[in-house]
Amino acid sequence: MIRLRGRLRVLRALTLALILLLGARLWQVQVREGERYVAAAAATRTRDVVVPAVRGQILDAMGRPLVRNRTTLVVSVDRGALERMKDGGKSVMARLGKVLGRDPDDLLRQIRPCGPTISRPCWTGSPHQPAPVAGDVTARQALQILERQEDFPGITAREQAVREHPGKSAAVQALGYLQPVTQEELEKREGLKAEFSGIDVAGRDGLESVYDRELRGTPGRKRVQVDRLGKVLGVEHETASRPGDTLITSIDAKVQAVTEKALAEAMKSAPQADGAAGVVLDARTGRVMAIASAPTYDPEVWTGGIDEADYRRLLSEKAGLPLVSRAIKGEFAPGSTFKMSSVTAMLRAGYPINGRYDCPGSFMVGGRSFNNFRGRALGVMSLHTALVKSCDTIFYRAAFEQYTKDGGRHPRGRPKEVMANTARAFGFGSPTGIDLPGESPGRIPDRAWKKKMWAATKDQNCRRAKIGYPEVAKTDPGRASFLKALARDNCQEGDQLRPGDAANFSIGQGDVLVTPLQLAAAYAALVTDGRLRSPRVGWMLVRPDGTKVKEIKVPVRGKLPLAPYERAYIKRALSQVASDGTAAGAFLGFPMKKVPIGGKTGTAEVYGKADTSWFASFAPVHDPRLVVVVMVSQGGMGSQTAAPAVRKIYEGIYGLAPKGEKPAPAALPGGVPASRPPVILPDGTVAKKIVPERGRVR
């Protein structure tokens, strides 16, 4: 027993050591390093949930909502949950497809994460965030999913705020759309060290994109306690979200609707038309009252995740690229609407304003005959008549003379290029700077541009000049030989501005391209104070309770190189176009006495396609308040397609109708644009009466 007792003592020592060891280690873990584990535990126990801020509305100039929010039942799929299933969630998605009446494969495509090789439809959000697959499901469908969660693991249906466009497709390209924010976008947002949740959205186009920061608001944060499986047990603390600002625009929903309708009808009336754009500007302020592009689409397709067919359609050439705003992105030769720039250039080059100019049927430029429209000789006339009757040869001659003066093909020193530089002063060749993304600059084909273009295309052209276009020749030998000659020309002398280029440029043909918005902005400057403005759609940002955040000013880009009397002269000439000139036919029966309209038609030839139809207009002529520009791609002559569309827009604005028809109520009574943004009351409604500003007597 002595030995046994001895060994018991050893065991006792071991036991004491055990207690001391465990006690010491507990001291170390719980007291010395406790804080570290408190933090680690909090990190595993809690999740920060982003409480989305209510996105600001977009209102029109009368306070009518262009974009508002509504709640919808959205079905979302948690990819992670599907991946953990034995069959990768195929059976669940098949069941979901049945409930929603959709193809399960289509649904699966919608939830795969986007990547370099995976393009839409795909999920742009976080892979850990449930991806929406269907919006606007019925309560019945949602219940089917929620009540049988054992059949639908990883599938949820919940209410979510989505955008609603009361005007359906109206101004949809200008308003833009929302998509889940990407990781990179979120990181770019300054001051927001938010964890990527995937439920944040970002404006992807139009006003939603440009004013995204203001519309977005500040999301709130909720720290919730979760269990091991991520089930929420309770809320630890919460910071409220701050709703986004309301964006008041200068768009007038009714004028917009009138414009859209006119474009749609114009597209229908011209069988070859493949696109159209319309812009209505407040002539004095440069604010945009309507901006439309046809064809258009219903923005509802973005709600609850866009499906494959819809997305393909939006991007398809065949459907006419409805996603693209032709008003700011469409670049087209302006045709005769461009002549106000050419007249200005002539005045700046020293041609007398009261001079008499011969308008022969054709004019020889560089050994080639350049004709008037239909080759008609119109006799000797003033510049005024040249604009009204749209004489071309006067401008050919002036352009050729200036071209020769600059040194022709091989200019000595720095050529003046008065035609091109005047066009630039009208704002062509550079973006107008409107508050919409992706604007095109258009193109001024001057000598520098020619050189640059030639450098870029020389190799290709010279190769084609040799081998021709055998693949085109099979079906269209005429076109092939034309293309070959063109390639040879461009190869040999493509770096030189040829006399023909100069002549074409003067009547808005050839390589010159403008956007409908550029033309509208230029006309607005011409018929008002001569200041070229950078148009604005956004007018004012206010808090949801109406407090003003900031007014969006319309910047002045420059001044037209015209003295007031010269501007008045050109305006007077343009004022006669609709009554006596090229657009007289389109405005037959229009009450010109009541609403006198001025403008300029344009018919731009496009090789291999039907003409681009233009009409740039303003009203009333004595003191213009509105500028309306319509462009119909492949619409034919300006007087045939664009001018009638513009007439319809004016009829809608003023509440007029052709004889024998009953006029609709005026979209904008008196044709006077709103002088100040609508007043939003603290409860978020719009004040009925316009409250006069303090200190101002009306």
């Binding site: 046994l4 065991l11 207690i19 465990l22 280690r25 873990v29 406790g34 680690a40 909090a42 126990r45």
Partner: protein
């Protein structure tokens, strides 16, 4: 030593076997410590299972029932003279072995990958491996309590038989497979052998054999992959914090976040979120650490220490080798489980599925532990007869 040790062939000492001893002769401190542990355990189990059912007390009630049965068993064990127990030891051993055989047949049920349970219905189940610990304690003590003539070391043949008896139980438990219990059985065997006065060179030889066996097991892929992974995760918890390292990391988070005073009963967010698995059984100590803090956790360790030290005291005071060996073996058993169970929650031992004595939920373990306490008391009371 007054020569009254119950050695082979000699009549039992001063008092005839089977005569009841007074209750007040029981070791009061041991009772207090066990009662304290049972009370704390009850609170912890309540806290960790209160969200399981609507009324939140179903597990609590079951545990209280287990404790009640356990106490009854302890009292019953305490009333049996341990020298009588010795006579029944072969029967106990046979019953335990039978139970272990039964459990690996289809009669047994599998829970968490181990075929360790015999379902009794009504949510109760028996885990024969817990009784195997008790049986092993008794059989080893019985075999090794008979020293060779003129020596106080066990006879070589008895050691051999003891090793075989232990190996049978360990083998059966290994078949379930229950690695943790096998280790406990191994520790009981080693502890009893050493206590019994085995020669140091025998001890060394056995240690070498165990080491060689362990190496063989490691390299012959006898271990389940999860066991290897657990060991790897213990050596380096960062290997796979979401996988095998998860339990260890979460346990440390729970215990550590309790700090000095704890978050209070029912106040543990980690417990509420069930981040630590099995937190009413094997990981119950994390609840103590989180909700009662360092003070509470140390109290549990100290109370367990008191149980162990009282057990050692009883072993020391016992005048017969059988009683001493039984008490010593029980201390080895409970001490090892304490070390592993508390150690694994604070990152000093690998994760092994062993309950914390008197604290963890689990009917059979509670019964076995309480019987062990009863046996300790029985030994104590008989030796207090002076």
């Amino acid at each position: 030593m007054n020569g009254l040790v119950g050695t082979r062939g000699r009549p039992f000492a001063r008092r005839p076997a089977g005569v009841r001893s007074p209750v007040w002769k029981a070791d009061g401190l041991l009772i207090v410590a066990v009662a304290g542990l049972a009370l704390i355990g009850t609170l912890l189990i309540w806290s960790s299972t209160r969200t399981w059912t609507a009324d939140g007390t179903s597990m609590l009630k079951k545990h209280l029932l287990n404790l009640g049965i356990g106490t009854a068993l302890a009292v019953a064990a305490a009333t049996v003279d341990h020298r009588l127990l010795r006579a029944y030891t072969p029967l106990v051993y046979a019953a335990a072995a039978l139970g272990l055989i039964l459990v690996i047949t289809p009669v047994g049920s599998e829970v968490n990958g181990a075929h360790s349970w015999i379902m009794l219905g009504g949510g109760f189940a028996l885990q024969p491996s817990e009784f195997a610990k008790l049986a092993l304690v008794l059989i080893l003590a019985m075999l090794l309590a008979q020293p060779a003539e003129g020596d106080d070391r066990p006879r070589g043949l008895d050691v051999m038989i003891a090793l075989v008896a232990a190996a049978i139980l360990m083998g059966l438990v290994m078949l379930q497979p229950d690695f943790g219990t096998t280790m406990v059985l191994g520790v009981i065997t080693a502890g009893t052998l050493i206590l019994s006065g085995l020669r140091k060179r025998w001890i060394a030889a056995l240690a070498v054999a165990v080491a060689a066996g362990g190496t063989a097991v490691w390299f012959l892929d006898v271990l389940e992959p999860y066991q290897v992974a657990r060991f790897t995760a213990f050596v380096n918890p960062a290997t796979d914090p979401r996988g095998v390292g998860y339990n260890s990391t979460q346990a440390l988070n729970a215990v550590g976040s309790g700090e000095l005073f704890g978050k209070g009963l029912f106040g543990g967010g980690q417990t509420l979120g069930r981040f630590v698995p099995e937190q009413h059984t094997d990981f119950v100590f994390t609840v103590a650490g989180e909700e009662f803090g360092f003070l509470g956790a140390v109290t549990v360790v100290v109370l367990l220490g008191v149980v162990l030290l009282r057990g050692l005291r009883i072993a020391r005071l016992c005048e017969d080798r059988f009683g001493t060996l039984v008490a010593g073996a029980i201390v080895c058993w409970l001490g090892f489980q304490t070390l592993i169970n508390v150690g694994m929650t604070i990152g000093v031992m690998p994760i092994t599925g062993l309950p914390l004595p008197f604290v963890s939920y689990g009917g059979t373990a509670t019964f076995a532990n309480m019987i062990a306490v009863g046996v300790l008391q029985a030994i104590h009371m008989r030796e207090q007869w002076h």
